[in-house]
């Protein structure tokens, strides 16, 4: 259960916040956006943080999910649920088709290819005006309803998206600790070595790419219903880069780090609005400064900092012991991820 304690903490925070701050703009309105961003960041982190495959085009899959739902419900009058499923299938097929050739590429070439993919999808959304509404966007998207419980207020959207975030984080944590999760981390370390161990690297990479795309598509569909309106701006390459920034700022290869990064990057611009003209400049400076001084991201950086602070204070309790020595699970997660982080630093 210790493995999931962070998840309970996250769920508790999601439940408690609206109780502590009822009708607060930052909780119910910005919080909903932050939740969606967190879902996207967690899915991208599976691909980037664990499998080590950089993607600068994740917004494309978010957009495909959103536009599938938007077009089918608003234009063709489908019920949202089959539209969601269709959107998932569509996004999944596209992701599967492009995954193999794209994931053969490495580092900067992979970054370029995913960036290009994102831009191509964006251009098609803008240009196919008869279908997507073009640059003006597409409105009149009905809201979701769960067996008659219509999600028609900010509070209700908060509940839905909060719950979805908890499910996605739980899913991500489980995948990372599963057999395929270990395969992912192995091929992150070295693809050749992973292949020598009998891992089908191409299939594993394709799998995680499609999974990340599917999660993004779900988020997109929910986003479309929540906003009741979609426009191409929400899915541009700027947003893809913002997602990558969330993952890296929070800390790669850490699911909670991705959530933290998403929260910070969603709330920061809201808070910086008070600086008016200086907003963009300060945002850039914060981003740069954080990455210079905490190159492994906030989550890992702050954890290390806490550890350092704690070390001299309580030297006797310092040894965390192999966590419950009687436990049948040797919890390989922590040391493995630490090693990975170190490898990152050197590379």
């Amino acid at each position: 259960m210790k493995r999931l304690s962070g998840l309970f903490l996250l769920a508790a925070a999601i439940v408690l916040l609206p109780i502590l701050f009822p009708d607060n703009y930052f909780v119910t309105v910005v919080g909903v956006t932050a939740g969606l961003n967190a879902i996207l960041a967690v899915s991208l982190n599976l691909l980037m943080g664990y499998a080590g495959q950089i993607s600068l085009g994740h917004a494309a899959f978010f957009g495909l999910g959103a536009y599938s739902s938007a077009i089918l419900t608003a234009r063709y009058g489908w019920n949202p649920w089959p539209a969601l499923l269709f959107g998932l299938a569509f996004t999944g097929v596209i992701a599967y088709i492009v995954a193999r050739p794209i994931l053969r590429l490495k580092s900067h070439y992979l970054a370029m290819a995913t960036l290009g993919l994102g831009i191509i999808v964006h251009i098609f959304i803008v240009q196919l005006g008869w279908l997507t509404g073009g640059p003006d966007g597409l409105g009149g998207i009905p809201t979701l309803s769960f067996f008659g419980w219509a999600v028609d207020s900010d509070q209700r959207w908060y509940i839905v998206i909060g719950a979805l975030l908890v499910v996605v984080v739980w899913l991500a944590l489980n995948i990372i600790d599963s057999r395929s999760g270990r395969a992912l981390r192995a091929l992150h370390g070295s693809e050749v070595a992973a292949e020598m161990m009998g891992i089908n690297t191409a299939a594993t990479k394709t799998g995680v790419f499609v999974l990340a795309a599917l999660i993004a598509a779900v988020a997109g569909s929910v986003f479309a219903h929540q906003q009741a309106f979609v426009s191409p701006d929400s899915f541009s390459f700027f947003f893809s880069i913002e997602l990558v920034t969330m993952v890296v700022l929070g800390g790669m290869a850490s699911t909670y780090g991705a959530v933290l990064g998403a929260l910070i990057l969603t709330f920061l611009p809201e808070l910086l609005v008070v600086f008016e003209d200086y907003e963009v400049m300060i945002f850039g400076a914060i981003l740069m400064g954080t990455m210079i001084f905490l190159p492994q991201g906030l989550f890992v950086g702050l954890r290390e900092l806490l550890r350092k602070l704690r070390r001299p204070a309580t030297p006797t309790t310092r040894k965390p012991a192999p966590q419950e020595p009687a436990s049948h699970k040797p919890t390989p997660r922590k040391p493995a991820s630490q090693k990975e982080e170190k490898r990152h630093g050197v590379a």
Binding site: L115, L117, L287, M288, M291, I292, P295, A347
Partner: protein, 293 residues
């Protein structure tokens, strides 16, 4: 039809020359420090904007002096970027340095927004605005300036890196920093120089195109993207490959805008780029990388 294609080719080469110069900057910095500098486009913007600012008004400098001033300003910005953002993060992972340069580009854009606002600015053309007839196609004198300037800068860079001691010293650092240090090369200064040179090339590109495309605080974004595409298309770390990639990209865009659809021109450019990468995963002129275990 033939005249039209000639016209598209001329436009394509002009646009391609800008992409090539931005790509060249990417390649120089990548070679010297293994960093993909996503603020390269911002150098172009700063070059164009400061040239406009220095030459504007009655008290403004003459164009040539404003251009020199703008290049100097941008060079200093490039060196400051290396000194204060890249150098302190030495040893960080590739993705971390990418985010640092993205942060730097947002920061520089923010500063430009603060100083110059959101307006579009233009420099006057260097030598008039009378179109020149080539066959049945026309070309503006400024287009020739861009092409000629591009060729001069590329040849100059080539000469600098292959024939001068200083250029060779920078190349030595990119091959092996420790070895370069051991033979007495000041690696820190060389890195600073490489960023300065990349920034200066970007600034010159920005000044050359400012009379044609105008310039504003956010022109750097798209140009940076295209320059990165050019560098990747040619093969990362190959300066001449980046130049070829830039020209090719400019031609593809101009031809597809003219012959197919201007709305899809960027998409066609990127689709061709993706296809090239599928068949040549290290770009057109890049060396295949081999993973060592």
């Amino acid at each position: 039809m033939f005249d039209q294609i000639l016209q598209f080719l001329l436009t394509g080469i002009t646009v391609g020359s800008t992409y090539a110069l931005v790509g060249l900057g990417f390649a120089i910095i990548y070679n010297a420090s293994d960093v993909v500098n996503f603020s390269q486009g911002e150098f172009v913007m700063i070059g164009g904007m400061s040239a406009v600012a220095l030459s504007a008004g009655d008290a403004g400098l003459p164009l040539w002096a404003a251009a020199i001033g703008a290049v100097l300003i941008t060079t200093l910005v490039g060196m400051a970027l290396q000194r204060f953002a890249i150098a302190p993060a030495r040893g960080a992972s590739v993705v971390t340095t990418i985010i640092i340069t993205i942060g730097a580009s947002i920061f520089l854009r923010g500063v430009a927004l603060l100083v110059w606002g959101k307006d579009l600015f233009a420099l006057p053309p260097f030598s008039g605005n009378t179109p020149i007839q080539i066959g049945n196609a026309t070309v503006l004198p400024q287009n020739l300036w861009v092409m000629g300037g591009g060729v001069a800068l590329v040849l100059g860079t080539q000469y600098f890196f292959n024939r001068t001691t200083l250029g060779k010293a920078i190349l030595a650092c990119s091959c092996n920093k420790t070895a370069a240090h051991l033979v007495g090369i000041n690696v820190g200064v060389m890195l600073l120089l490489a960023y300065g040179i990349a920034a200066a090339i970007g600034a010159m590109a920005g000044i050359l195109v400012a009379p044609i495309t105008f310039t504003s605080y956010d022109t750097g974004v798209m140009l940076g993207l295209k320059g990165f595409s050019a560098a990747i298309l040619g093969g990362m770390g190959n300066p001449m490959g980046a130049v070829a990639g830039g020209l090719l990209l400019g031609l593809i865009e101009s031809l597809s805008a003219g012959l197919i659809s201007s709305g899809y021109k960027d998409a066609i450019g990127f689709i061709i780029l993706l296809l090239v990468l599928f068949f040549r995963p290290s770009g057109l002129f890049g060396k295949a990388s081999v993973e060592r275990v």
